[in-house]
Amino acid sequence: MSNFNLEIIILVVGFLMIIAGVYCLIRTYHLLKILIGIEVAMKAVTMFIILAGHINGKINLAQTFVITMIVTEVVVAVVAAGLAINLYRKYGNMDVRNLRKLKG
């Protein structure tokens, strides 16, 4: 039963981390902090996949998933940082409120 509780608690912690990440996405004004929020949520997702592999006994498969996932995550982070820096060059700051030209 104790083993079971561990998994539940990992699930709950992951859930709270996703909430924290999405909250960060929605609430913050800084472009890079938005990306950090995404990373926080991604940590939780990584943990979920490992948990899933742990529960169903296919930890090796889960590991391969996680490795692939981390690679894509890093590339997305690089692209996002590049976009953020380009936006900084345009506007002189990293305020997300600059991004209101396209609307309606």
């Binding site: 999405v22 996405l25 929605i26 997300v96 991004l99 209101r100 309606g104």
Partner: protein, 646 residues
């Protein structure tokens, strides 16, 4: 040399060619359409149009003749479902009508082309005429009532189209014709539905003879009313006089004069002979006869007081239908063949009469009897044709009208005396009105309006007898007239040809109805009536001093005066009463429509605008709002899952 054998072989080969596959559709229906399009594209090129008319009519007559001479055949084209098969039944009766139509079409179209020479509508007139020919061929050949109805409605479209073309700004006659003929067609449709339901098959040849009882009575009456309504019988007649005022003569010659009667009476005879077991003395027979008699008397009484040639003739066109309906309504062989023969004769002399009126209009610019007179010297051939046709319609031997009328009188007398008396009254007034019209137009001193085409051609020297160029018409207009007049005489003198050789054999009657009428009493009575008419005319002429007012003493007779006033105010016109109902209904509909359109114009637009504006303003470009919407979307999906799962 061209021998009779060669001719026979040619006819046989044509008919066997037509009976093969889809050739009959191709050559009887599609080919006229192609001719029509060619004629339309020629626009104002008179000579080429004339060539097209002659060539196409020759081919059409040849086809019709070959079908008539053939043994007859049955062609079926399978369609989507078995009830919609296009089936053509070619036998003596239908082929005979095809031939009539082919010949009549030739003359009418020739006349029309000549009449509309170099005019704007010449091309479109030809197109409509050829479409009508295709439709007529199709309607007469069809064995399937549904397919026939399709063609039948097509004729309504060409009718409407022609009337609209002639008067685009105020298509009064067109709308009236559409409403009245449309109502008649609706009745026909209803009748067809009931008939097909009762018979269990849409094919006429499989129907046998349905007895007229119960719901079949309704079906029979509806079909009959539709058919004779197409022919112009009361109560679907009142558009014809209006059209006479608006439309040019070729239209009047073609539609109310010939085509519609041919088709309407054809169907009426098919109903009476093939579809229903129609007995003489039955209620439905009496109803039909009453309708016929009323039509005769009312229409001819209206004709009597008309002072315009086209209107006068159009009322006669209605009254003559009454004779045919009366004849067919007797349900006696002699009546049916008399009605058919009368229809044939009427097509001949009525077309001829319209054509003479058209010639006068072409030359003087008017058909008002008050403005013209003494044209006999200038237009002798027209006058002779008019006289022959006038005698024929009045029922003077030896012209064709006399023989057909005597047959109908015979049948009417056999049914009931009162119908006979009604028909005699009609004959009397017909004769009176034609005496009036003929004398007013052709005898006396020459007179025609100032602004007539003939006057204009005379130059600037003013009104002088030697400058007047009112003269005989073109050969293209004269030829059909003369042929019609000639046919009137031929069908009168050699009446065995149409009666026994054509109609009798086509209907399968063994008895001969040709020759001099067998009952001498009737002939004597007819002569007395004609004499009375002459006396009346002379009396009226003496009293008023002019031919045109010769019928005024009847018009202004104490009691009749009131009736005529009412009729002039169109109290007897069912169209007007129909229009009151329709207007009331349309006012109601307008109210409903306004309230609905308010919803569309304001309510719905406001809602859409409001929703659009709200969404538009909600999307302010802020990224956090985008993300929030996405998270809310997930919540929405969760709700949907919960609703479905719990």
């Amino acid at each position: 040399m061209f021998s009779y054998d060669m001719f026979n072989t040619l006819m046989d080969s044509i008919s066997s060619f037509l009976s093969h596959g889809a050739n009959i559709i191709l050559f009887m229906i599609v080919l006229p359409l192609i001719w029509g399009i060619i004629g339309w594209l020629l626009k104002k090129n008179y000579l080429l149009q004339l060539a097209v008319v002659v060539l196409s009519s020759t081919i059409n007559i040849l086809f019709a003749l070959s079908l008539y001479l053939s043994k007859g055949f049955y062609v079926t084209f399978p369609f989507a479902s078995s009830g919609l098969d296009i089936a053509f039944n070619i036998y003596k009766f239908s082929a005979l009508f095809l031939m009539f139509i082919a010949i009549g079409f030739f003359l009418v179209t020739l006349y029309g082309t000549a009449f509309l020479r170099n005019e704007k509508h010449a091309g479109i007139f030809l197109l409509y005429m050829y479409i009508s020919l295709a439709i007529l061929n199709g309607a007469i050949l069809s064995d399937n009532l549904g397919v026939m109805l399709f063609f039948w409605e097509g004729l309504l479209c060409t009718l409407f189209g022609m009337l609209v073309t002639n008067n685009e700004q105020k298509p009064r006659a067109a709308v009236k014709a559409l409403v009245l003929s449309g109502t008649a067609d609706l009745l026909l449709m209803l009748g067809i539905i009931i008939t097909v339901y009762r018979a269990g098959t849409p094919f006429i040849s499989q129907m046998g003879k349905l007895s007229i009882t119960g719901v079949s009575t309704v079906g029979f009456m509806c079909m009959m009313l539709g058919a004779i309504g197409k022919a112009g019988c009361m109560p679907f007649h009142s558009w014809i006089p209006v059209a006479a005022g608006d439309a040019p003569v070729p239209f009047m010659v073609a539609f109310p004069g010939a085509i519609e009667k041919l088709l309407g009476i054809y169907l009426a005879v098919r109903i009476v002979i093939d579809i229903y077991d129609f007995r003489s003395g039955s209620i439905s027979s009496i109803v039909i006869m009453v309708i016929g008699t009323l039509t005769i008397i009312f229409a001819v009484a209206m004709a009597l007081i008309q002072k315009d040639m086209k209107r006068l003739l159009s009322y006669h066109a209605i009254s003559q239908v009454g004779y045919m309906v009366l004849g067919i309504g007797t349900a006696l062989p002699i009546g049916i063949i008399g009605g058919l023969f009368h229809m044939l004769n009427n097509a001949i002399y009525k077309s001829c009469l319209f054509m003479t009126a058209g010639s006068i209009e072409k030359q003087t610019g008017t058909t008002d009897l008050k403005k013209v007179g003494g044209l006999g010297k200038r237009m002798p051939i027209t006058m002779i044709c008019f006289m022959i046709s006038g005698f024929a319609i009045a029922g003077l031997p030896p012209f064709n009208g006399f023989f057909s009328k005597e047959l109908i009188f015979d049948a009417a007398l056999e049914s009931h005396l009162i119908f006979y008396l009604g028909a005699l009254l009609g004959a009397f007034m017909t004769a009176v009105s034609f005496l009036k019209m003929g004398r007013a137009a052709f005898s006396g001193p020459l007179k025609f309006p100032e602004n007539s085409p003939g006057k204009l051609a005379s130059g600037k020297n003013g009104f002088h007898e030697s400058n007047i160029s009112v003269r005989e018409s073109d050969i293209g207009m004269l030829l059909p007239m003369v042929i019609m007049a000639f046919l009137s005489i031929i069908f009168g003198i050699i009446n065995t040809l149409p009666l026994d050789k054509l109609l009798g054999s086509a209907l399968g009657y063994n008895k001969t109805y040709s020759g001099w009428p067998h009952s001498m009493l009737l002939v004597v009575v007819s002569f007395i009536i004609l004499g009375l008419a002459l006396l009346d005319h002379i009396y009226g002429y003496r009293k008023t001093g002019s031919a045109i007012n010769a019928a005024d003493h009847i018009h202004y007779a104490p009691l009749l005066k009131n009736i005529y006033n009412a009729a002039e105010k169109q109290w007897f016109d069912p169209y007007n009463h129909l229009m009151y109902v329709v207007n009331g209904f349309s006012t109601f509909c307008t109210l409903v429509e306004r309230s609905i359109s308010w919803v569309y114009d304001y309510g719905a637009v406001k809602i859409v605008e409001g929703a659009g504006n709200l969404l538009h303003r909600l999307n302010n470009g802020s990224l956090s709002r985008y993300l929030f919407a996405a998270v809310a979307g997930v919540a929405g999906i969760v709700v949907i899952f919960l609703v479905v799962l719990l």
